[in-house]
């Protein structure tokens, strides 16, 4: 293996490029129209255009990707996460083209990618699953049948996409009146996101935590589970903060959960990196939720507490190497790590996406800080893709110190030109319930509802005055100045600027200023 085609974009493409570099492999990038200037293009050895910005015409366009693999002489393909990472046809097509797919087999993707088939596989391996329907709802099921099936599962319940992931195609239903609307919405979102509208029901557990187990499996039958990740801090079913280890997991529970996760993976002959997600109830009982047959967004926190480079191991496993990591060591975390997913969203406006040009970006650094980012000053956050701009990770000897580091790093992080979720994280990390670890998967949505849109960005009168001062000084420095009439002032200001070395023009008060 010499050249790896990275069939992705953004921070994960950069992450994979870094692993390639450290292994002496040549990274090949692909880009859509709007990504020509992106970091993953500039960091790569070679980069190829694969089509227009819409994902369907570029990063989801399997033929275009395979064509680049051929042209560039790549011998392996890393799919990252999202896009085609869990698409068994793509994995099979990569293999059929004589290339190595850096991930599990197409068969494993197909089996575990279907949420209903995966639940059945977990049950066969003796692992409890969240109560719910065994089969997807028929696409043409009459409303009355849907309601009857829902009654059997019991309320509150979740409508989930069979092909789901990342919280898309998922809806909570608290009673019968919301059911049919929620099924319709979940189906439509699932069709858009995954090309498959099938949905099923799961009972909603009372205040569960989301705890997941990272696995690596080699092609020689070894499966190694890692210390758990706690991912209960979610907004609209999307993880926004992850940490490891979980405050809710005792050593005995860790032993039980990681053994169960490994049992499920072994039972389906799973290879490469994958994650088994569990729900953990208030009594310490855990239930199989689903398996992600790919590298997870939140993999860095596991790397921070185990010292294992998961992407490097993905590549080594794909080359046929044997896992030789100490299974005991990766269950014993060194310190504590936490990740915040920084999004180009406006937390003060219902978290609406905030695409646009980044004017200024300075990432935090220093002890225990890792920032996996695909963004930079001068780059646009495109409207076409997930608006995550960075994963900010803090590591320290223990949780309180890790939180202190994260708060410090959030304060250091400077992004202007777009709105980001940085102020939201500063708020969250100051909440007593969060600090004490008293939370569950609905915690954040409940807190946000209680806040009722109260802004996270404090409107400090001082900042307002500083903005006024900065604007006036900027105008003075650039030589643009007020004049008695609009239109004339620009010329006058420029002439004066030339004559006097950008000294301001003195004049009346009715003009305009331009940058």
């Amino acid at each position: 293996m010499k050249k790896i085609l990275i069939a992705n974009r953004g921070e994960i493409a950069v992450r994979i490029i870094r692993a390639c570099r450290e292994m002496g492999l040549s990274p090949i990038s692909v880009y859509s129209e709007c990504d020509r200037g992106a970091l993953h293009v500039r960091y790569a050895d070679e980069a190829y255009a694969i089509g227009p910005s819409a994902p369907r015409e570029s990063y989801l366009h399997a033929d275009a990707l395979l064509d680049v693999a051929r042209r560039s002489g790549a011998d392996a393909v890393h799919p990252g996460y999202g896009f085609l990472a869990e698409n068994q046809e793509f994995a099979a097509a990569v293999r059929a083209a004589g290339l190595t797919f850096i991930g599990p087999s197409p068969e494993a993707i197909a089996l575990m990618g279907s949420k209903t088939a995966a639940r059945a596989a977990a049950a066969r391996a003796g692992v409890p699953v969240v109560p719910g329907t065994g089969e997807p709802l028929a696409p043409d099921a009459p409303d009355a049948d849907v309601a009857r099936i829902a009654d059997e599962v019991g309320y509150p319940l979740l409508v989930k996409a069979v092909a789901g992931g990342g919280g898309k195609g998922m809806r909570t239903v608290t009673d019968r009146t919301e059911l049919i609307g929620a099924v319709g919405a979940a189906r439509s979102e699932a069709r858009t996101a995954f090309g498959e509208a099938a949905v099923y029901f799961e009972r909603q557990l009372v205040r569960p935590r989301h705890v997941e187990v990272q696995l690596l499996g080699d092609e020689h039958g070894t499966v190694v589970p890692f210390v758990e990740r706690e991912c209960s801090i979610q907004r609209r079913h999307q993880k926004v903060v992850e940490e490891t280890p979980s405050l809710a997991v005792s050593p005995a529970l860790r032993q039980a959960m990681t053994s169960a996760a490994a049992a499920v993976a072994r039972s389906v002959g799973y290879t490469n990196a994958g994650t088994i997600e569990f729900l953990l109830d208030e009594d310490g009982r855990f239930y199989f939720l689903e398996m992600n047959t790919r590298l997870q967004v939140e993999h860095p926190i596991t790397e921070m507490v185990t010292g294992i480079d998961l992407v490097r191991w993905q590549i080594r496993i794909a080359r046929g190497e044997r896992l030789d990591i100490d299974p005991e060591a990766v269950l014993a975390p060194n310190g504590h790590a936490i990740e915040c997913r920084i999004y180009a969203e406006d937390p003060d406006n219902n978290f609406l996406p905030s695409p646009g040009r980044i004017l200024q970006l300075r990432a935090p650094a220093g002890p225990g800080i890792r920032d996996d980012s695909g963004a930079g000053a001068g780059l646009d956050v495109p409207i076409f893709y997930d608006p995550m701009i960075s994963k900010l990770v803090a590591w320290a000897e223990n949780r309180p110190q890790a939180l202190a580091r994260m708060r410090r790093a959030l304060d250091e992080y400077l992004v202007t030109g777009i709105r980001t979720t940085l102020p939201f994280f500063s708020w969250l990390l100051a909440q007593p319930a969060f600090i004490e670890g008293r939370f569950h998967t609905a915690y954040l949505d409940e807190e946000l509802k209680a806040r009722n849109g109260r802004p996270f960005t404090e409107a400090r009168p001082e900042a307002e005055e500083i903005a006024a001062i900065a604007a006036a000084i900027h105008a003075t420095m650039t030589g643009a100045a007020p004049a008695s009439a609009t239109g004339r002032w620009k010329v006058q200001a420029r002439l004066d600027g030339l004559r006097t070395g950008a000294r301001p023009v003195r004049g009346g008060s009715a003009g305009g200023i331009r940058l």
Binding site: A463, S509, I513, R514
Partner: protein, 187 residues
């Protein structure tokens, strides 16, 4: 140099005077000494020193013993970008402000969350209208969801900023909209 600076709906008078190594700045009646350095096309670093206002006896006193009367020098990083002909977006830390310098007074963004009067709900980005949740004539409450626009693979609920009545609906479900396209008017 005197500027009328409109910020967050308020007009402030800012007087900037070059001094030897910086600027003396007065916002309304609050005097400060500012050291300003341009970092790049968009970014200024400001060190803002408070002047103790009670002992300020006038310009004659200012030059002689300014240093002793300086309070703490607070560091700010400020990013400026142009937004329209006379408007700047000025970000102090993470907080962006829309600033108009000496310009004609602009009506505040009608979709803004604060203030009173009619609201126009506009598409925040290009996308597709998935659902319209209200009808013309409906009474709506602040933060009530009005319309769902799908963009960046997510469905986004756009909400009313204040209580009001739906005056007009400009789009149909299924329509593709550009950024800034009017969706719903509320009076």
């Amino acid at each position: 140099m005197q500027y009328e600076v409109e910020i967050e709906g308020r007009v402030r008078t800012v007087i900037v005077t070059r001094t030897g190594d910086g600027f003396a700045v007065r916002v309304d009646d609050h005097a400060r000494i500012v050291d300003a350095v341009r970092i790049d096309a968009h970014v200024l670093s400001l060190l803002v020193g408070e002047l103790w206002p009670t002992h300020d006896t006038g310009p004659a006193d200012r030059g002689t013993d300014a240093r002793r009367r300086l309070g703490p020098r607070t560091s700010y990083e400020v990013a400026l970008s142009r937004a329209g002909s006379a408007q700047l977006i000025v970000s102090v830390g993470a907080t962006p402000f829309t600033v108009t310098l000496n310009g004609r007074r602009r009506a505040k963004d009608v979709a803004g969350p604060a203030g009173a009067g009619p609201q126009r709900i506009v598409a925040p980005m290009p996308g597709k209208v998935i659902r319209v949740l209200v009808q013309a004539g409906d009474a709506v409450l602040a933060r009530q969801p009005l319309v769902v626009v799908e963009a960046m693979k997510m469905e986004n609920e756009l909400r009313a900023a204040r209580d009001g009545t739906v005056a007009a609906i400009h789009v149909k479900e299924g329509a593709s909209v550009d950024a800034g396209a009017p969706l719903i008017d509320i009076t």
